[in-house]
């Protein structure tokens, strides 16, 4: 109701404003450099207070009283232009660069503003940066280029999702920002071709993001897609082709090292065992398989894109179609691949002189083939680490199968077992390990038999209408949809891959369809008006959104014919229908209704104040907490525009401060957990005839009280331009307090059911960010250097009173490795602290407590020495108690870096261009959990396990001694030997391009022709010993931050060497 009153008021005020002005001039302002439209250009009637600014597309419209007045076009960084109207109705202006520009226009929620007037903290990445990084995924374009933005790579697999974390983690599960693409909010952006993007704005502070209310708590990534510039039609064609390969560096033990490890362990573990006994038990082998080498291949990647843009004075358009294809370096394109077909059509049209209509529409299809990775239970990557090198990839002959395997396989396939195609490919029969059992298998064999594909079709975008009532007042309404259809299909033949396998592993085919549909309807008024030195802006609008997800799937076992053409579940004749199962259901349904607004005021472009607000109502919450109000205010002072400010070197200086509140509810499911619900029926009891008895029970404990996660953030910043803005500097300090983070599992088990979702605590992030830019032109040399650096400190400051900590991050077979506890970083690594290795029996004997009792009774020289830290079981405080117990587990490090940064250099010289992009992080730990399956015998390990191992006092290595009877638990519980420094610095891109002189190309009708060569992921400096220091937070599809920084053999990021061409005509 309140909203309606407000609207009425606003409308009646506007009603009163008259329409005295007569002559209207419209036009487009572009940059003379590249013909791109210039939004935010100030246009004033010379000698009056009348003025306007250009919109996002560079268009303007101004009403003047005097047809003979002169218009002034002012834009920071551009030479001011004065043009007499002389009766014209249309004046298009091309502005020339004055000094290197700082005053770009930035997109803010529901509008645009000049960068010089921004009072919040907004980072911008524009089309040029995105073009240069040529990434397959948009997120990578942000890496190292924006201060305070951590891009967490969870995998180097083609098309793998990436996590973005802005200014530290403020939630348990929901840490990602939201994406708003041309006004429509969405979650994933893998369907979007990065080259369709005009600009990306990251709203980092709460004040800027407050207009997105309950969804802005983790920051907002605003993406604006490209639009035609009007005038001439441009065609462009881009193509690139590259070869990806694995970056060498990580290696596991070869046969010699492997035998040395196990023989040493044999002697270490056995009583009076000699080396000869060990050799007898672990005989020499001629086989020396490099499993990692066997799974990695060189894989191509390519991209083609055609775009057309143009338009007339009444309408503009942008159209593109692109094809991206990236094969994976594990198993090649057949097994891991990402293909994207993306189309884009954007249209803006002036329907009448008072109304604009248009559309932003994308259709894309992505196809992903993935392999099982980052998992110690049977993933391809981990199998390649742990399988013994004494097993060959292929047998020379099938007679090499062990008797046990032959017997088992004959039971599956009969006497002619060897004809089964799951056992061989063109290179021969797959080797089966006789040493490493359970689910571990030959990874090449695994790649041969696993087939999985996911196809996503997506229609995304919408239509809008915009009405200009009169000078300064506009109304816009958008209707957008996000329609996604996700189809997964896979099958595997009946396989025999491991000597301990039951020979009954079945063939299986499955198909699954997910339908997602979101619609969003937003309507808002925009008012912008200058009154002399006063500029007033306002936005007021409403938004409604509904999300639904339904799914359907099924599988069938015992395929009668094991072939891709027959692996469909409705092939009733071919599949044993008795073993078919199907599933389906409602995957999600929620609604969000909002009112939002903004008021801004500036005086002489010197003093600015902006206030955003949003009131959201969500169906995810109970009646008491359905609505949330999220306000913000920000102020700015452009000191350099003061008369007293006379520092020639400083061309621009702005101080700003902002404060705001946001919410976050993305971690909540759709299932109305504030209501008690019944279990869905997958649990049963049984009766005496073994018949299932169905169960009804409350799904979980309910908490009707839970509410939004809340973020409150203050930001103080400075923007500085030096030497006519050649040098720019931005610094921000922020305090971000995220309270009431939602968590499941904080209720004691004794309450009797699965825990409800509760608001569990508060996390505070404080940090500083710097961005330093250098832009210059020395003769023909154009230089652009950008340095970003940020420091963030996260601390859990409160956990709901009944809990003192939360545990998570399970590793292998030995438990949790992470904790969330007051006073520490969220999900810090938690375990035992060590003090080096025991060098001798004497040292072990001498390591006693106050009572003279030995601390480590089962230790031997070369074992880890554990520190007695504390005595009380429930806290990190307290002193040593003379016992090594769980109470001695303590803080071991943080999965999050202390420092993040990047350096980007662009040089252009007479048609040549050179781009170097780097990023890095410092101070985080990675838990190297690639060889933690101590329940398995004879597993292979990274080679430093033997090469750095303690062998004897004469050969005192730095790593614990080889043992398979790890009674001292050197490597079978979380301790600081398992944690490594995860800092790294990476040259992510080096590109050299050459643009042919236009004098040459224009003869064949080409306006621009550029060719380039580039190397991605050229070099990484790190102490981390695993395959890949970039370890993200995902594990088996669980996104929880409890998995952050745990490496279970992550699919490594490939190195790519490529070449490409850009043609415009």
């Amino acid at each position: 109701m309140k909203q309606k009153v407000l609207l009425l008021l606003m409308l009646s005020v506007l009603w009163g404003i008259g329409y005295a002005q007569q002559h209207t001039v419209t036009g487009t302002v572009t940059s003379a450099d590249d013909n791109t439209p210039l939004p935010g250009v100030s246009i004033a009637v010379k000698g009056t207070t009348t003025g306007t600014i250009t919109d996002i597309d560079g268009n303007y419209s101004i009403a003047v009283k005097d047809e003979n007045a002169t218009l002034m076009y002012v834009f920071v960084g551009m030479r001011t232009v004065e043009i007499p109207i002389a009766g014209q109705n249309q004046i298009n202006v091309a502005m020339e660069t004055d000094v290197m520009g700082v005053d770009e226009v930035v997109v803010v929620g529901y509008g645009v503003t000049k960068k010089s007037l921004v009072t919040g903290s907004i980072a911008k990445v524009d089309a040029e940066d995105i073009m240069q990084s040529r990434t397959t995924r948009v997120e990578n374009a942000l890496q190292g280029k924006t201060a305070g933005v951590l891009v967490q790579q969870s995998s180097g697999a083609p098309g793998a999702e990436q996590n973005i974390i802005i200014r530290g983690v403020g939630s348990d599960n929901a840490v990602r920002p939201i994406y708003v693409i041309d006004g429509m909010r969405t979650d994933g952006i893998d369907w979007l071709d990065p080259q369709d993007i005009e600009s990306i704005e990251i709203l980092k502070d709460a004040a800027s993001a407050a207009i997105y209310g309950t969804e802005g708590g983790n920051g907002v990534v605003l993406i604006t897609t490209k639009m035609g510039k009007g005038g001439k039609t441009n065609f462009s064609y881009d193509a690139s082709y590259g070869i990806q390969s694995v970056v060498p560096g990580f290696s596991v033990m070869d046969t010699e090292e492997y035998l040395k490890y196990y023989r040493t362990a044999y002697v270490n573990d056995g009583r009076n065992k000699t080396w000869d006994d060990a050799v007898e038990n672990y005989p020499d082998s001629d086989v020396n398989t490099d499993w990692l080498g066997a799974i990695f291949v060189n894989a191509p990647t390519q991209k083609h894109k055609i775009s057309v843009d143009g338009g007339s004075d009444r309408s503009k358009y942008y159209f593109s179609v692109s094809y991206t294809d990236q094969d994976g370096i594990i198993g090649g394109g057949e097994k891991s691949n990402f293909t994207r077909y993306a189309t884009k059509l954007n249209i803006d049209s002036k329907a009448t002189d008072w109304m604009n209509v248009g559309m932003r529409m994308s259709y894309s299809q992505t196809r992903t083939r993935g392999i099982h990775q980052n998992d110690v239970f049977g993933s391809v990557t981990n199998n390649a680490v742990v399988l013994d090198p004494t097993t060959p990839v292929y047998y020379n002959d099938r007679s090499e199968y062990s008797d046990r395997d032959v017997e088992n396989m004959s039971r599956v396939w009969g006497e002619e077992w060897y004809t089964n195609p799951s056992l061989y490919d063109e290179n021969g029969y797959f080797g089966i390990s006789q040493k490493v059992l359970n689910e571990i298998q030959n990874p090449v064999h695994q790649l041969h038999n696993d087939r999985d594909q996911s196809i996503n079709n997506k229609l995304f975008g919408g239509i809008y209408g915009e009405i200009n009532f009169f000078e300064g007042l506009k109304f816009r309404t958008n209707f957008d949809i996000d329609l996604a259809h996700n189809y997964n299909r896979g099958w595997n033949p009946r396989v025999y891959t491991n000597s301990m396998n039951s020979p009954s592993v079945r063939s299986r085919a499955f198909q699954e369809i997910n339908m997602y549909f979101t619609w969003q309807w937003e309507s808002y008024f925009t008012f912008n008006k200058e009154f002399g030195d006063h500029t007033i802006g306002a936005v007021l609008g409403t938004s409604a959104r509904e999300y639904t997800h339904e799914y359907l799937g099924g599988d069938g076992e015992n395929l009668k014919k094991e072939s891709d053409n027959y692996a469909w579940i409705d092939y009733g004749l071919y599949i044993d229908t008795l073993n078919n199962t199907s599933w389906g259901g409602l995957g999600g349904w929620d609604r969000l209704a909002s009112v939002f607004g903004r008021v801004s005021y500036s005086y002489k472009d010197k003093y600015m104040i902006t206030s955003n607000f949003r009131r959201d109502g969500s169906s995810k919450f109970g009646p008491a907490n359905k609505f949330g109000l999220f306000p913000s205010v920000s102020v700015g002072w452009v000191m350099s525009r003061e008369d007293f400010f006379q520092v020639p070197a400083i061309s621009f200086l702005k101080l700003r401060y902002s404060w705001g509140k946001n919410g976050n509810a993305t971690s909540l499911g759709w299932d109305w957990r504030y209501l008690p619900t019944s279990s869905s029926g997958s649990y049963y009891y049984i009766d005496g005839n073994d018949q299932l008895l169905s169960i009804v029970e409350p799904t979980r404990l309910t908490n009707p009280e839970y509410q939004w996660e809340k973020t409150e953030q203050s930001d103080i910043g400075i923007d500085l331009g030096l030497f006519r803005n050649r040098l720019s500097f931005t610094a921000d300090y922020y305090i971000k307090k995220s309270s009431d983070f939602l968590f499941e599992g904080s209720v004691p088990a004794l309450a009797g059911n699965d825990p409800p979702t509760v608001n569990a605590g508060t996390i505070e992030n404080r940090g500083i960010e710097f961005e330093l830019g250098y832009n210059d032109k020395i003769g023909d040399l154009k230089i652009n250097v950008q340095l970003t650096a940020s420091h963030n400190k996260s601390e859990v400051t409160e956990i709901t009173e009944t809990i003192s900590f939360i545990t998570g991050g399970n590793v292998g077979t030995f438990g949790d490795s992470k904790r969330m506890e007051v006073g520490y970083e969220p999900w810090y690594f938690y375990g035992f602290k060590t003090d080096g290795l025991f060098q001798s029996e004497e040292e072990i004997e001498a390591y006693v407590n106050a009572d003279g009792k030995k601390y480590q009774t089962s230790a031997a020289p070369g074992d880890v020495k554990y520190l007695d830290i504390a005595g009380t079981a429930d806290s990190l405080g307290g002193g040593p108690d003379g016992l090594l117990t769980d109470a001695d587990k303590t803080y071991l490090g943080s999965p999050y870096p202390k420092l993040l940064g990047g350096l980007n250099i662009n040089l252009e010289y007479k048609g040549f261009d050179l781009n170097v992009a780097t990023y890095g992080q410092y101070g985080n730990k990675v838990l190297m959990a690639v060889s933690v399956r101590d329940d398995l015998s004879n597993t292979n390990k990274p080679d430093f396990y033997i090469n750095d191992a303690w062998i004897s006092p004469e050969e005192p290595g730095t790593f614990p001694r080889p043992t398979v009877k790890d009674r001292n638990r050197n490597l079978s519980r979380v301790n600081d030997y398992m944690l490594q420094d995860g800092s790294f610095f990476r040259i992510s891109n080096l590109a050299l391009g050459y643009t042919l002189p236009s004098s040459l190309t224009s003869k064949i009708g080409i306006s621009k022709l550029r060719i380039y060569v580039a190397v991605d992921n050229l070099y990484t400096l790190t102490n981390y010993k695993g395959m890949e220091p970039e370890v993200g937070g995902d594990y088996w599809g669980y996104r929880g931050q409890q998995w952050a920084g745990i490496d279970r053999a992550v699919y490594p990021k490939p190195r790519t060497v490529l070449g490409g061409i850009n043609v415009n005509f």
Partner: protein, 515 residues
């Protein structure tokens, strides 16, 4: 101008539509899952489904950790050795064996959890269903039995537990410790009330056999009395039970745990399992109706083709128990409990890895030091007891769990008779000899008093080997330090185990002494 007026009306109409939806629009009806409301449980069928929720937690061993009363009992006692894949495989089991039992032990948390989950569901049946029918009277009696059973397991294991008979509201999630006497009082009350209503086993149809019977409640009550040293009361209820004629010993010891004897003459309280799995076993053990511990304790990396499948090799029989049988000349129960190298003569073919008497032949000798040669036969992965057609078939063993069998009842009765205010050692001796007779051992005679008590203790060990009884028997006899001292038992501490640390952290519970 007129145009503008029209525009504004148009726009206003649009905005009015979008905003007026308001709050009603956000009140979504529950879809895709039913609300759980006690008033909706208005028929016997619906109430029974709720009761089955409580029953289901008898089966649960793997929910968010692995646990069972007998596995933990065996490993802490001199009945079982963890072995499995070695010292690093399931360290929580090794910790019981080596008396490094800490409050962070995940098996302990799982055991704690399953009992409270059972209690919570039993409480719903008892407090939240208003239906008044004769079936409902039965369901309430069954729920009382279940609540008593779950509380008995908790109070026996943890001592000073959290106790409630009405489910907690969110403001009550932080309870304090309750003294064991208070819990036992409720256990007795629940069981006495249940006994009045529950049917005799002979009155149950085959389908109903998986539900509580009068005899099961009487046996539980006898056990609860025994743990409190209320010998007269124990003797009373157990006498009724023994005299009921509902139960007898299965003639062949070796058959008790086989499929043929499921709900057989000796079975007093049995938890059913069946070869079904619906869902992801690894994510949630409730989605399997199979007995995962059969897989867990089966011979590791060894199969007897056609007879016994391979398992994961946990909970091997402690050589101390084997020695005890040998000392007593007890072949029947040794070969009825253990599947050892010596018993392999039962099967002609031994395939897969051949393991000799010393454990040689393993892919490595990691486990050899603890490898005793004797696997569990009472939870044996017999070929045919699971469904190789289901995946993972490891989770589909249908071996039922004999929680209380008649031999246990006879020995409890004997103990009560021997220990009660006015002992009846003559009858006690008869009870013991009934058990010994089946084991083909000579009857005992001429002993009484403490000598007889010691004989009963030994008999319990030999008869109930590896059934998870030993540890708690020894503890209630006050023999912990004497018997398990060599393993690490500390008097005054290990009589009860630590309350899980995460529960301490979330509540006002005080940790047990010594942890």
């Amino acid at each position: 101008m007129k145009k503008i007026v029209i525009n504004i009306f148009f726009v206003f109409a649009l905005l009015a539509i979008t905003t007026s939806c308001g709050e009603d629009w956000l009140e979504l009806e529950l879809k895709g899952s039913l609300p759980f409301a006690s008033e909706a449980i208005d028929t016997d069928e619906k109430a029974f489904e709720v009761l089955c929720g409580a029953y289901d937690f008898l089966q649960v061993k793997y929910y968010s950790g692995w646990s069972s009363y007998y596995l933990l009992g065996n490993l802490a006692a001199d009945d079982g050795v963890p072995v499995g894949g070695g010292f690093s495989d399931r360290p929580e089991y090794w910790d019981f064996h080596e008396y490094e039992i800490t409050s962070e032990n995940p098996a302990l948390l799982q055991f704690w959890r399953r009992n409270y989950y059972g209690i919570y569901r039993a409480n719903i049946v008892l407090n939240d269903i208003e239906l008044e029918t004769s079936a409902m009277d039965m369901y309430r009696a069954e729920a009382k039995f279940l609540r008593a059973y779950f509380y008995f397991e908790l109070v026996k294991t943890f001592g000073n537990i959290a106790f409630y008979t009405v489910n907690l509201s969110p403001s009550e999630y932080s309870p304090t410790n309750t003294a064991p006497e208070v819990v036992y009082e409720q256990i007795e009350k629940d069981l006495l009330e249940a006994i009045e209503v529950l049917p005799n086993k002979s009155q149950q149809t085959t389908a109903e056999m998986t539900r509580a019977s009068k005899g099961a409640a009487q046996a539980m009550l006898g056990k609860a009395y025994l743990f409190q040293k209320k010998y007269d009361e124990a003797a009373g209820v157990l006498k009724t039970l023994v005299g009921s004629g509902e139960y007898d010993l299965c003639p062949v010891y070796d058959s008790i745990f086989k499929k043929s004897e499921e709900f057989g003459i000796e079975s007093v309280f049995e938890v059913p399992y069946a070869s079904y799995i619906h869902g992801d076993f690894w994510a949630n053990g409730r989605e399997s109706e199979g007995n995962i511990e059969v897989q867990l304790t089966g011979p590791r990396e060894t199969a007897l083709t056609g007879f016994v499948n391979a398992g994961w090799g946990f909970d091997m029989i402690d050589s101390s128990l084997v020695d005890a049988w040998d000392a007593a000349g007890d072949e029947v129960r040794k070969y009825g409990t253990g599947l050892g190298p010596e018993s392999f003569h039962e099967w002609v073919t031994i395939s897969a890895t051949q393991v000799d008497d010393n454990g040689n032949g393993f892919p490595d000798d990691k486990e050899k030091e603890e490898w005793t040669g004797w696997y569990q036969k009472k939870r044996c992965p017999y070929v045919g007891y699971n469904d190789p057609g289901q995946s993972p078939m490891e989770a589909t063993y249908e071996n039922n769990e004999r929680v209380i069998r008649f031999a246990d009842v006879l020995l409890m009765y004997a103990e009560a008779l021997n220990q009660k205010g006015s002992p009846d050692d003559g009858t006690a001796l008869q009870m013991v000899n009934r058990v010994r007779q089946r084991a083909k051992l000579d009857p005992l005679s001429g002993i009484s008093g403490n000598e007889l008590f010691e004989a009963i203790k030994l008999e319990r060990r030999l008869e109930l080997g590896a059934e998870g009884q030993r540890y708690w028997d020894v503890v209630r006899w006050g023999d912990g330090a004497k018997t398990f001292g060599y393993l690490g038992f500390v008097e005054g501490t290990h009589e009860i185990w630590p309350i899980p640390e995460s529960e301490i952290g979330k509540t006002s519970l005080v940790q047990n002494n010594g942890y």
